[in-house]
Assembly symmetry: C2
Homo-oligomer: 338 residues x 2
Amino acid sequence: MRRVTIKDIARIAGVSYATVSRALSGSNEISEQTRKRILEICEQEGYRANVLARSLICRQTRVLGLIIPDVTNPFYSELSLGIETYARKLGYNVMLCNSQPDGSATEELFEFLVGHQVDGIILASSRNEARGWVTKYFRTVPTVLLGDSLAEDDEGEVNAVSIDNRAGGRIAAEYLHSLGHQKVLYLGLRPGSLTHQLRFRGFCSAMEQFGGQPEVLENHEEASSIAAGYTLGKQAFARGFDGTAIFAATDSIALGVLQAADEFGLSVPNDLSLLGFDNIIYSSLPKITLSTIDQRKQMLAEAAVSLLLDVIENPARDEYTRRLIKPALVERQSCKRV
Amino acid sequence: MRRVTIKDIARIAGVSYATVSRALSGSNEISEQTRKRILEICEQEGYRANVLARSLICRQTRVLGLIIPDVTNPFYSELSLGIETYARKLGYNVMLCNSQPDGSATEELFEFLVGHQVDGIILASSRNEARGWVTKYFRTVPTVLLGDSLAEDDEGEVNAVSIDNRAGGRIAAEYLHSLGHQKVLYLGLRPGSLTHQLRFRGFCSAMEQFGGQPEVLENHEEASSIAAGYTLGKQAFARGFDGTAIFAATDSIALGVLQAADEFGLSVPNDLSLLGFDNIIYSSLPKITLSTIDQRKQMLAEAAVSLLLDVIENPARDEYTRRLIKPALVERQSCKRV
DNA sequence: CTGTTAGCGCCTTCAA
DNA sequence: TTGAAGGCGCTAACAG
């Protein structure tokens, strides 16, 4: 399928192809007449500029790369829609890539995106390795991390945007404490996830401060899926869970726990309170009505894009920004006063 | 950020850049020695071929465009993951684009993708306009429709893959009939969706054959969202629904209906049977356990990619293929014998 | 205001 | 086996 090029248009219009280029680029060193005529011909012939050829010269593609673990995860799909929408509004397009839940395709995808000359990359990841990936590539291509960068408070050499997970954990603890829960299980901590660790740390420190006793049940899967939550939930109930509340590492995990509880004849919130994290849309479903901590995905999305564009436009920018967004409690009906 | 090019490598290696090109392309008209040496230098310097420049010459980019209404819809996110995974396995990358639930961005996205020289496009849409979009562009770029192409059985000039929606409707009717339901409401038919019409037609013809009485409640929103299902459900219950079962146009609609039923104190399946369509992952949630018709997304995804690649590789292909995939009933706990 | 020319980074004949 | 040269579609000086 041979496509019509700028030369074809030039030939038809009887002008040089530089003129056509000018007509298209909105240059002002061209008469309105010829511009109109050329534009009409383009329309007629169905001309579409070859963006690749253009990028070759302009040294920018106006496309951003976005790497997420898995679109199927509603947290990431909502995030990616927010990012795509906002980027498009600012004149950028995004190439969405799934790195697999375990992140195994991440480096390959970086290479791929660099090869495609994207202007910048957003890496959305909650993994420990995330920071390493960013530092490996950020000298080659402007990159921002959408996730936690470091456990300690010292800033690393990465530009990052994330929710304040420590604060999120604290909010959870305060909420459960306010309902009188003392013995609470934190279910689904993934050791490979810095995000989860921060969340857990914030949760524990507040809980202990209140004299509560946090327990943990780790998730050794690579993803916080409903299935993982289900397995872990069954495990907890089978060995005789004797606390009053469960704080799930994510909403998906909570959904799985709910399923397990159902099978064990445990009613939420009557026999057991359940609190999630993320506020995915399915948490608001009837009969689910999961109380949770909201991640403010829209804000995260816009912050990440803004930061990335800032990095792209100021290549000499010799500072690193780390934006932390405050999470918020969403109270529904899965938690009850003990 | 200046990136290292083939010329830099050539200079360092002390060869012409044609030689470097050969080393990289796996050509056999080059000695193993120099190839190895060059490859090492590339590695050292962190050389990444500029895919754009390459595509300019090779006239193929190995990227496929995928247009879906909205990633946030789990049906489409599952589909898109399937498509991306399968395409990547075959050496293709995909550019995912959201056309908005109302499809308003579709034409713009076609133009965008054509400008980016994608090798082909998959348009996933259930709208009436879908066929028109495809016929408008398929001469410019190989395109396959993932959705229904025509109401009538005559083949149009489009290559298409879809579930057999008429059969899906029939299966639904047979199932509800087998449980003794006579008065059934088809809830959520979108007039703008060919898919829904086929589904409804199959449903009605079977239902009538059984002597049942199908009713309809149309959805005039642009998307089959949970919210739309909720509104429609409330509407149905408010005006006094007196049937025994509801067949929802999609699972998301069904989820909304469930919420409305909950508010009206109606228990599913005790007071009312509810059947969905799609089999999104959230239908299997505890306490939701929605019976539904499975769309076989994996199969759809692979069929669409295969067909598209076939069209790409055989440009002179003078036939149109339409693949219909059989849907399957997934029985859970939302339907009961009357 | 318009045309000419020289590349962007890469691949591919054609010579050597 | 290697190098030189032309060109993919387009933009950007520089002339005219």
